[in-house]
Amino acid sequence: MNRTNGADVKIMGLTKTYGQKAVLQDLDLDIAPGEFVAIVGRSGGGKSTLLRLIAGFEQPTDGGILVDEMPLKRRNKTTCTMFQNDRLLPWQRVLDNVGIGLQQKNWRQLAQQALEQVGLGDRAHEFPSVLSGGQKQRVALARALVRNPHLLMLDEPLGALDALTRIEMQRLIEQIWQKQQFSVFLITHDVEEAVALGDRVLLIEHGQIALDMPIPLPRPRQRKSQAFVTLSEDILERVMGDSSDVVNTASKESLETAHAC
């Protein structure tokens, strides 16, 4: 597949510390153009910090990020972020929300097209307050898509949605991604979601990549297939496996004795 739309991201020796605490430590990661990378991991592991650094919201303490071979400085116009909550402006109508910050003269037309892409073409002139949670997130998706992103950053955008709406949204994101072939960086708490969507699933723990698992399953993925279930369980076990460590790292000795038993 020709994936020229996607950004090529190279992360080298990325470190971010807040005061004394290192959230990311010397992290290396490559995202190939058009690749769908899904990130899982426990809260506080550094997932969101990594996203905020790649999106340019924060500056690294050390190390650097290359996007399409250019060093990343602050905001990159071709990187669009979809946040955990919709972050729509409640005083702007849906169309204006999608078109926020667009410079083109025909922005209305572009925004309308993006809305139609997410199936909300008929809601353009409503205020966000009358939409459901899933619809608001679709508007937020349209707002990201209208800019023709080369890199789409998804920060647990489906976490607050009900199970059915979430699966619908996952399909929608997958379809649009297959059509437009941008690169995707998806953070999620849901291992199944990561396996359903990611070309690779990464586990981030203690500020480093603890697992980098390619998902070779054909798309659209069958959640009931044996391969899917096995992969999901393996990754989930790996994520959860760390929990006993967290409890026990208070002293190394106790960890060792625990293993000895």
Binding site: A55, F83, I100, G101, S129, R143
Partner: protein
């Protein structure tokens, strides 16, 4: 048909008590149980209103009071709004200015009347100054609060989609602060009339307050009550205008939709 009647009755119900009270008041005065030196009959107030309207005195004084109110409100409101924005957006400005503003705010502005008369005399300036000073604080505080409580997530989102400077202000910060600013405006309108009543009764030459004080000298209770009603009416009018603006500007907010 029957439903129409029911609706008409429903609309009439809230007015029963005021009308009964008015009739009672009228009767009390007319049968001499209540001296006209305490309260005039409602009909006398109406007559006084018509008389003063015919001589042009009523409309002249109404006009003068309204103009004072508008000028004072504009000056105090604009300064309060500008300073509220400045201190809301800029931390250094807040540090430099906010403490001083808070100190001045704690002085009841009507306590400054003797000083204001010494500064400005009893002319227009003193009244406008007092109104402006009274209006300044609620608008300043609510603008400041409104700007400070803009959701930082929305600002981050807007910046990530390339909004800067004026666009960021006009699309995110101002609309977000508007609800709070309008609360300040409504509060300031109350203070505006209150200040004007006091300022006009003390420094005598024209306006509704002057009309009331002048009438007091001649025991014209009907004109005094008329003046009070005029203030009530003006206050209600100003409040209705702000409510209309709230409904129009905040219609995106479900809390303001079906009031």
């Amino acid at each position: 048909m029957q439903r129409g009647t029911k609706e008409a009755i429903g609309k009439f119900v809230p007015w029963i008590l005021p009308i009964v009270l008015l009739i009672l008041w009228q009767m009390l005065v007319k049968f001499g149980w209540l001296s006209t030196r305490v309260l005039p009959a409602p009909s006398d107030v109406v007559v006084a209103g018509i008389r003063l309207a015919q001589t042009g005195e009523l409309s002249r004084n109404l006009m003068i009071s309204t103009i004072r109110a508008i000028i004072g409100f504009s000056i105090g409101g604009v300064i309060g709004f500008a300073l509220g924005l400045l201190n809301g957006v800029s931390r250094p400005a807040e540090k430099a200015l906010d403490t001083s503003v808070q100190m001045i705010r704690n002085i009841p502005h009507l306590a400054l009347i003797p000083l204001v008369i010494l500064w400005f005399g009893i002319g227009e300036e003193s009244k406008i100054f007092l109104v402006a000073l009274g209006v300044f604080f609620p608008i300043y505080l609510n603008t400041f609060h409104g700007v400070r409580t803009v959701n930082p997530e929305l600002i981050e989102m807007a910046k990530s989609y390339g909004l800067r400077g004026w666009n960021l202000f006009s699309k995110v910060i101002f609309p977000s602060a508007l609800g709070s600013i309008l609360v300040g405006v409504r509060y300031a309108l109350g203070i505006m009339w209150l200040t004007l009543i006091v300022a006009e009764t003390i420094t005598l030459d024209s306006g509704i307050g002057y009309m009331a004080m002048n009438a007091r000298e001649f025991m014209q209770t009907d004109v005094v009550v008329l003046s009070i009603l005029m203030y009530a009416m003006l206050g209600k009018l100003a409040d209705s205008i702000t409510r209309t603006l709230e409904k129009k500007w905040l219609k995106w907010n479900p809390n303001y939709q079906s009031v």
